[in-house]
């Protein structure tokens, strides 16, 4: 257990921004969010001051004087009413558009993002790295010791999240980002930590019971070389996730119906499946090119096989609900990726894992070397 010194982010966005936020957002997508927030704030302030100014001015100016009636004045004015309906609508449309744009930027991860699996459970977070490692570090925060999630500076990190019990929500305030974490499917978003040495709070934002307020974590940003070394050191001994996936698939008898060489069997082949669109029996299609969609498709096909039936195949598979573990689903997903030539498949998987094992070895390609030891 290490007690970390908590950093404060630079505050360069002005004093009003400083009232609302503890420093600037920790990445450019968060800065875009803050910019929209501040725009909306000044827009709102303008209307609020205008309306309240008129209200107070008129209440004073037209206060009741005994014996003096209210002068007759128009009780409606169609052009005025149309203007004050249409003009704000245009501004609202603008806010909507900017909000949608910045939202998509925060949700859709770049292809080369490192995938970190986040598990929420009452009342703790676990982060599993691509090589299967789990950070053993903790730090005191509030009344509890919370896990430390180490992330590399300058690399895109994609969180793939699920829950062991109830719904949680993974919130990193400094990155202006959160998403709910579910017990029956994966959700995901990405961030890009920028500065080594930064620490960031993570809070559970969806009420989950007694220790909801203690369900926190700390993100520690380190240099990429240090990250690689730490993750390799923590690495699991059981082989790569895809190797464990192959063993799990063998154990559960998946190969009785699914081939891995592209041949047609009782079920669809796993070769070159991951990342590509899937035609379904009901005429719809599972879209390709989306990690979250595919991860959920695999998960659902294992637990509720008939839910999304591949076109041209019978609904013959039994549910593995209660038979297979969450970890095994993750490993099998990695195995399917390793069998696919799709850009999200083997190539991306190997790239992620290579980035991690770099520091163990022999290819100091980025010049940083392996000696940037942890402090």
């Amino acid at each position: 257990m290490t007690a970390y010194h908590f950093t404060t982010l630079a505050q360069d966005s002005g004093p009003v921004h400083g009232l609302f936020f503890r420093g600037d957002a920790a990445w450019d997508k968060g800065v875009a969010t803050d910019s929209l927030f501040m725009w909306t704030f000044w827009f709102s302030t303008f209307w609020f001051v205008l309306l309240m100014g008129l209200m107070v001015w008129w209440v004073i100016k037209y206060r009741r004087r005994p014996g003096v009636p209210a002068p007759r004045s128009a009780s409606h004015n169609a052009p005025l009413e149309v203007i004050w309906t249409v003009v704000p609508s245009l501004f609202l449309g603008y806010i909507f558009f900017r909000g949608f744009h910045a939202y998509i930027d925060k949700l859709v991860a770049p292809v080369d993002a490192i995938e970190i699996v986040v598990k929420g459970m009452k009342w703790n977070w676990t982060a599993t790295y691509p090589n299967g490692a789990i950070s053993p570090e903790t730090t005191p925060l509030g009344a509890s010791n919370v896990p430390v999630i180490v992330l590399p500076a300058g690399r895109a990190v994609r969180f793939k999240m699920y829950s062991d019990d109830v719904i949680h929500s993974f919130w990193i305030p400094d990155f202006r980002m959160k998403f709910d974490v579910f017990p029956n499917r994966y959700s995901s978003f990405w961030i890009q930590p920028m500065q080594a040495g930064e620490t960031h709070w993570v809070f559970c934002a969806e009420y989950c019971g007694d220790q909801h307020s203690e369900m926190a974590a700390v993100i520690l940003v380190v240099h990429e070389s240090e990250y690689n070394e730490l993750v390799a050191r923590w690495g699991a001994a059981g082989g790569t996730p895809q190797e464990m996936g192959e063993r799990a698939a063998r154990k559960h008898g998946c190969f009785a119906c699914h081939s891995i060489d592209g041949t047609r069997n009782v079920g669809p082949t796993w070769r070159n499946a991951y990342g590509n669109p899937v035609p379904l029996a009901d005429g719809s299609t599972i879209p390709g090119d989306d990690r979250t969609v595919w991860d959920n498709y695999i998960r659902e096909s294992i637990l509720v096989p008939g839910a999304k039936l591949h076109a041209g195949y019978p609904n013959q598979m039994n549910s593995f609900q209660g038979i297979i573990t969450e970890d095994e689903i993750l490993w099998i997903t990695a195995y399917l990726r390793s069998l696919s030539d799709h850009p999200l498949g083997a190539a991306a998987l190997e790239a992620e894992q290579a980035a991690e094992s770099e520091s163990e070895g022999d290819a100091p390609a980025n010049g940083e070397g392996a000696n940037g030891g942890p402090n």
Partner: protein, 597 residues
């Protein structure tokens, strides 16, 4: 004031029938007469008492929540009397009070208390509050009717309300629930503590729903069928428009929450597996069901408040509401759009397409709301504005509700919502809307109609002091919470990191001023009932029909069925009832404008 209160004889030529408050016989038979009454006024007063009782209970819970958050919970090393050092828990005020053992148990008590606060305030105060009390009392009178369309059903609604509340109180006595008022699955269906507590609380909310449906149905029929001769749709006061729109939403949306809560009970008792992921159910389905009701219900909560504000501003400014038809149609527009924006409570749990659609629709619902605020403020222009407690409350409403509405913008926009969702920013936002909107309008309406309901005036200075305290206390309590939210404080937290303590303490101090303000109001009202001067029939100079009858109204509301001769806000052309035209000059220099035409 230049008005002279008219005497009874000026109002009618009959013998004195006595007001609805006049006791008939000895104490016991009076109690029985009230308990079995089908008079909408008595039922309205009974609702008022019941709702205010629940408001008190919910308020105690709110004060407890703020008190607990004065300090975060921490383990500290403490030297014992015997010289040894021991680690002890500090800062868990409620935990100590209820002798909780350890951090988890202490937090659990906090969780029960905030659930209690939310469930009571939403289901038992804000949803039924205005329509069931002020609506019940004034809807028939403002329409010129003797009663609602189904008086017995009306009494049944009250008993159903009380039954539902008793189930909720029973759940509290059994130890309370820690699910949050939103009852999100799978926590509420599997993990939440206290099996029967949860079932009783949900059952309570389920039963309360029937009260809403029956009251809504009653009001819809009353509005359609019992308007007095001469009153067309666009001659109705805007309070009626608001209650009418509210009733439509309540009748259409409440069955959904009824079914949802029933499914939740089945899930808990019989494990049917509709929301439980372990059985192939989907917990997010519950959120869709829940918000399909609970978002329209946000407008069930706020529309009656908006109706009250329309009356307050018109009467105390002696002006037709600017753009009467726009305000009336905005009520209906809000009612319609409110059904298709529920997804904005779930941006952090839905896919991109659904989120984009719901975000867009959410901005759509902002427009009629903004139009109403513009119309109210435009009404002030060239008015004859009385500065009294109802008018102060109307101004407080415009101030607080505008903040509530405008802070909805960053919550409706997707990128900012993913930061602010489930934070204190949301807590502050909905308190500005629900309390700064509905409760402030309710208290303002109560002051506006108090003389009519109980026949007594209240002390204006003390009431204005109470209003000022509530306004200041409210802003200190809740404006700080916007900053807490943007800085990273999640909602429903029993404890927090050290950095948030200062703002939490400011917020707690604000809650004490808020409490003081409500106590001043309570004292003022009690003083008014005991020793207040007798109220004239039309103390403010209103033009709607309730000001034509006596204060308090006679049992049948009117001696003769009224015939409407002027619009509700025709202050340009009409001397208010019970006013002497000689003392009430009208401006004749320009041609009159008739409202709504």
């Amino acid at each position: 004031m230049s008005t002279i209160p008219a005497t009874h004889d000026a109002a009618h030529g009959h013998h004195d029938e006595g007001s609805y408050l006049t006791p008939r016989g000895p104490f016991l038979s009076t109690v029985v007469a009230w308990a079995t009454t089908i008079d909408h006024k008595k039922i309205g007063v009974m609702y008022l008492v019941a709702v205010l009782t629940m408001f008190f209970l919910g308020g105690v819970a709110a004060m407890a929540v703020r008190a607990e958050l004065w300090t975060p919970n921490r383990y500290v090393e403490q030297v014992q009397p015997d010289g040894t050092t021991q680690t002890v828990l500090q800062g868990d005020l409620l935990g100590k009070l209820f002798k909780a053992d350890g951090l988890g148990a202490a937090n659990n008590i906090y969780n029960r208390v905030f659930t209690l606060h939310g469930a009571i305030m939403v289901f038992m105060v804000i949803v039924p509050g205005v329509p069931a009390s002020l609506g019940n009392f004034f809807l028939p009178i403002m329409l010129g009717a003797k009663d609602v369309a189904f008086p017995r059903l009306n009494l049944l609604s009250w008993y159903i309300y009380v039954t539902g509340s008793i189930f909720a109180v029973l759940s509290i006595i059994l130890g309370g629930v820690d699910t949050g008022w939103t009852f999100y699955t799978p926590y509420s269906s599997t993990h939440a503590a206290g099996h029967w507590n949860v079932v009783f609380m949900i059952l309570g909310a389920f039963i309360l729903g029937f009260s809403s449906i029956l009251t809504g149905l009653n009001f819809i029929v009353t509005t359609h069928k019992l308007r007095c001769p001469g009153m067309g749709w666009f001659d109705m006061p805007l309070f009626i428009w608001a209650i009418y729109s509210t009733s439509i939403i309540a009748v259409l949306a409440t069955p959904v929450i009824g079914i949802t809560l029933l499914l939740l009970i089945f899930e808990r008792l019989f494990h049917v597996g509709i929301f439980d992921p372990a059985m192939g159910g989907d917990p997010v389905l519950f959120q869709h069901f829940f918000w399909f009701y609970s978002h329209p219900v946000v407008y069930v909560m706020i529309l009656p408040g908006m109706g009250i504000i329309s009356e307050l501003i018109a009467v105390h400014c002696r002006k037709p509401i600017f753009g009467y038809r726009a305000v009336a149609f905005a009520s209906l527009g809000i009612a319609a759009v409110s059904f298709i924006v529920w997804g904005h409570h779930m941006f952090a749990s839905m896919g991109e397409l659904a989120s984009a659609v719901f975000s867009f629709l959410t901005f759509l619902v902002a427009i009629p709301t903004a139009v109403k605020v513009f119309n109210w403020i435009a009404t002030l222009y060239k008015g004859s504005i009385a500065i009294n407690t109802p008018m102060l409350y109307a101004m407080a409403f415009l101030f607080l509700f505008s903040i509530g509405g405008l802070t909805g913008l960053p919550l409706g926009a997707l990128a900012t919502d993913l930061h602010l969702h489930d934070s204190y920013f949301v807590v502050a936002h909905f308190h500005y809307v629900m309390m700064g909107g509905t409760i402030i309008a309710f208290v303002g309406g109560l002051h506006h109609w108090w003389p009519k309901m109980f026949g007594r005036m209240y002390n204006e200075k003390w009431a204005m002091l109470g209003c000022a305290l509530v306004f200041i206390g409210f802003n200190v309590t809740f404006f700080t919470q916007f900053f807490l939210g943007t800085q990273g404080m999640p909602r429903r937290y029993a404890s927090y990191v050290d950095e948030f303590q200062f703002l939490h303490q400011v917020s707690t101090v604000g809650s004490w001023f808020l409490l003081l303000g409500f106590l001043v109001h309570l004292g003022t009202f009690i003083h008014s009932l005991v020793a207040g001067p007798k109220a004239p029939p039309n103390p403010w100079g209103g033009l709607t029909l309730e000001w034509e009858t006596e204060s308090p109204p006679i049992e049948h509301n009117f001696h003769h069925e009224p015939i409407l001769k002027h619009g509700p806000y025709d202050y340009d052309t009409t001397v208010p009832p019970h006013y002497d035209p000689a003392d009430y000059p009208l401006d004749t220099s320009t041609p009159p404008h008739r409202s709504g035409h």
